[in-house]
């Protein structure tokens, strides 16, 4: 039997593609060598947020975040979805103009956003260190638990007839389908490659690099943090190309736990947590939230983001690879942006009108 589409990789991006494609009535087979959600999706923070460094980043995050919020009603409670909002913090008064500029931009695009002065910020997050100059509050940002979200999207696809083959690794992508490690072949009209940081193994010459991140989770302290809170400097850490950086980034999980990020490292492939990085990341959190120092830390772990040079995903046809669509390189916002990427992929395959302009994410931009 020839499937309509083979999706390679069952991370949240592959899961979202399978969900969108089956919604379009296509027969989909998802192939995953390990477990569903064992890659970056099993490691990430699950913050659904709008970023606005540039127009392309804004459109993809805005579309996706709003889609997630629309889907909230249908989600099972295991997704731990919560529209807690984001607060971006200015660490020094010099950062206030940038906050205000971002606020004005978001408001001009009909995204709810407001500036918090020093006192409002302290009231919104009483555990922040006193005297911080101010914050930018984006109330409609949300958080969820990524493995459960991906599992849910995958299950929806399965209910519409998709097959999920775990324990199978794709070794080659061909015009007619894929070859598997066990020597067998699977045919399909289209192949979607959603293999995150492993993509260069299947499609050579792509500028996708692993970017390691550390996280630490605490025991339960309900109400200690109320919003996803990040320093404005996070943008510098995320958008910069430095080989190593940390930024203050904490999240209230629905369980009452506090999830603490985040670090970014290029050029490291060893997944073991590094105490040096954890140390500076936690120190950063303590600088902003002194009382966090006393919370009990349960576990530290790491994950790898699939980073492209401009931090935007690569979505669309690949030169000299007939019938193959790439959908990878979602760096640190793939939980959010997988919905827009999946929308683009299904528009390409079904010939529908894309939900947003695909050009900024086109594979051939590099």
């Amino acid at each position: 039997m020839t499937a309509d589409v083979i999706v390679i990789g069952a991370g949240i991006v592959g899961a979202a593609c399978a969900d969108a494609l089956t919604q379009g009535g296509l027969r989909v087979v998802v192939i995953e060598p390990s477990l569903a959600v064992s890659g970056a999706t099993g490691a990430g923070m699950g913050h659904l947020l709008i970023l606005d460094e540039n127009e392309a980043e804004f459109s993809i995050t805005r579309y996706s975040r709003d889609r997630w919020n629309q889907m909230a009603m249908e989600m099972p409670s295991s997704l731990e979805y919560e529209r807690c909002g984001t607060i971006w913090i200015a660490a020094v008064p010099e950062e206030l103009p940038l906050l205000k500029q971002r606020c004005a931009f978001l408001q001009s695009r009909q995204v709810r956003a407001e500036i918090l002065d020093s006192q409002q910020l302290a009231e919104a997050e009483p555990n922040l260190r006193p005297g911080l100059p101010g914050g930018l509050f984006i109330p409609d940002d949300a958080i969820l638990y990524p493995p459960a979200a991906a599992g849910w999207l995958l299950k929806r696809a399965e209910q519409r007839g998709a097959a999920v083959l775990t324990g199978k690794r794709v070794t080659h992508i061909q015009a007619w389908g894929v070859e598997l490690e066990d020597g067998s072949r699977l045919e399909a009209h289209h192949v979607v490659c959603a293999t995150g940081m492993w993509t260069p193994q299947l499609i050579g010459g792509l500028p996708i690099q692993p970017r390691k991140g550390h996280l630490v989770i605490t025991d339960r302290y309900p109400g200690f943090v109320r919003h996803a809170v990040m320093e404005l400097g996070y943008l510098k850490s995320a958008h910069g190309r430095e080989s190593e950086s940390v930024a203050f980034n904490v999240q209230p999980r629905k369980t009452g736990q506090v999830l603490i990020g985040s670090s970014r490292q290029f050029g490291v492939t060893d997944a073991r947590p590094e105490s040096r990085i954890i140390s500076s990341m936690v120190q950063r959190a303590i600088d902003f939230m002194p009382r966090i120092a006393q919370l009990s830390a349960l576990r530290a772990w790491t994950g790898f983001r699939a980073a492209t040079p401009d931090r935007l995903p690569m979505v669309g046809p690949v030169a000299n690879r007939p019938n193959c669509l790439l959908c990878a390189g979602h760096e640190g916002i793939g939980i959010t942006t997988c919905l827009a990427s999946a929308g683009l992929v299904s528009a390409f395959i079904l010939g529908d009108r894309p939900p947003l302009d695909p050009k900024p994410y086109a594979v051939e931009r590099f």
């Binding site: 775990t166 025991d219 603490i260 105490s275 303590i286 830390a297 530290a300």
Partner: protein, 418 residues
């Protein structure tokens, strides 16, 4: 700053760790022993005046109690955390003697207050918890059951039943062939008026606020026994986490060691329960070998090989005799909680294909105990391999994850009782 003045660092001050420290220190090495408990002695001698503890005190070793090893930040360095300290410690040789923990078995009602580990209850009582006049049912598998029962009795408990899941025939043939025959007979003598039931196990604990009774099964017979405590002991699980974090290989859930008690990581030795549940005598012998090896006295180590071989044979017979029966796998019902930290019932875990999948999707094993309790349970129930060890090994305050180079303050906690 990293504290670097020790030749041999021993983690764990139970029989194995103490024996290792004595041998290494008596051979002239600078030895420090770390234990998360304030006192040396491990599970059985803690707070006692045992001759090995006296020998340890006189050996020239340094003891640091109330501090836990939580990570290996870089090869050859341990991260040590105590109430108000956090520092890095370099070792030339490391002896891992981290002992074992109790194995729990889920059945309906096992999370009720009053249903406790037999070892946990012993520790509680030793620290002053009153047991006089309380009705106690002791249930599970293995020789520790007997010791626990005798101990509760000595503290005034009314032992209403001792339920041993092992068949009488297997238990008896083990007892008769073991070097501990006399000890067992003495214990049994002290318990001769207690109903001692073989091939018997708990199927349900019931009660409103706390346990009021336990339903036991023996063959086709089921009955309910009123109790204030149900003390369970289904054997022990080796504490291999530190060894795993340091990179040591395991075999069958225990740390792989060679003749010298050296692990697959050069310069790292392991002794006692992490190498397989074998009891205090084997722990002492392995500890002495590890201590000699770590001090470079291979000749002296070899003097213990023959004794060790005998106790390893004992270990094999112990494990075979008290192997858990398959019926126990049927005890939990779909609603029975398997992961106590995160409240995950069996029915949510069963559909998964492996530990990692269950963990990611149900949060099983993600709470404060990090799978120490539910990991061995799902291993027994489903045969899954539970192998993810991540720092910190036990929960620590966040500030203790920050390197501040406070090694100097560690000295204040040293004790040289000898």
């Amino acid at each position: 700053m990293i504290e670097s003045r020790w030749d041999v660092v021993v983690v764990g001050a139970g029989p194995a760790g103490l024996a290792a420290a004595c041998m290494a220190a008596e051979a002239g090495r600078r030895v420090v022993v770390l234990d998360e408990n304030p006192q040396p002695g491990g599970q059985i001698w803690r707070g006692e005046d045992h001759h090995w503890i006296r020998r340890f005190s006189a050996s020239g070793s340094t003891f640091r109690g109330a501090c836990t090893v939580v990570d290996q930040p870089e090869p050859g360095v341990l991260h040590v955390v105590g109430r108000n300290i956090s520092y890095h410690l370099r070792f030339k040789r490391l002896v891992i003697a981290t002992g074992a923990r109790e194995r729990f078995m889920p059945f309906p009602g096992w999370t009720l207050p009053g249903v406790v580990g037999a070892g946990g209850l012993q520790a509680l009582v030793k620290s002053g918890w009153p047991l006089a006049g309380k009705r106690v049912v002791v249930a599970g598998a293995g020789p520790l059951l007997l010791q626990a029962a005798a101990f509760f009795r000595s503290r005034g408990a009314r032992l209403t039943c001792l339920a041993e899941q092992t068949p009488l025939r297997r238990g008896l043939s083990f007892a008769l062939r073991s070097g501990k025959r006399l000890q067992a007979i003495a214990l049994l003598g002290r318990l001769c008026d207690v109903p001692y039931r073989w091939s018997c196990w708990p199927v349900r604990a019931s009660g409103q606020e706390r346990v009021e009774s336990v339903t036991l099964r023996q063959g086709d017979r089921m009955w309910t026994e009123p109790c204030d405590y149900l003390a369970c002991s289904f054997g022990l699980v080796p504490n291999t986490e530190l060894a795993q974090l340091v990179g040591c290989e395991l075999v069958d859930g225990a740390v792989r060691v060679d003749e010298q008690q050296e692990t697959t990581v050069s310069g790292v030795y392991c002794a006692g329960e992490p190498t397989g549940i074998g009891g205090v005598d084997l722990a002492l012998i392995q500890g002495q070998i590890a201590g000699c090896s770590a001090a470079g006295s291979l000749q002296r180590a070899s003097a213990f090989f023959e004794q060790r071989a005998r106790w390893i044979e004992f270990r094999a017979r112990l494990q075979a005799a008290f192997a858990l029966r398959q019926e126990l796998r049927q005890l939990p019902d779909p609603e029975t909680v398997v992961c106590r930290c995160e409240d995950v019932p069996l029915k949510e875990i069963r559909p998964h294909s492996c530990w990692r999948s269950a963990k990611l999707q149900t949060r099983c094993g993600m709470g404060p105990c990090q799978g120490r309790i539910c990991g061995p349970i799902v291993e027994f129930l489903f045969g899954w391999k539970v192998d993810s060890v991540r720092p910190p090994l036990t929960p620590v305050r966040l500030e203790q994850l920050v390197n501040r180079g406070s090694a100097a303050t560690a000295d204040r906690h040293d004790s040289h009782p000898g």
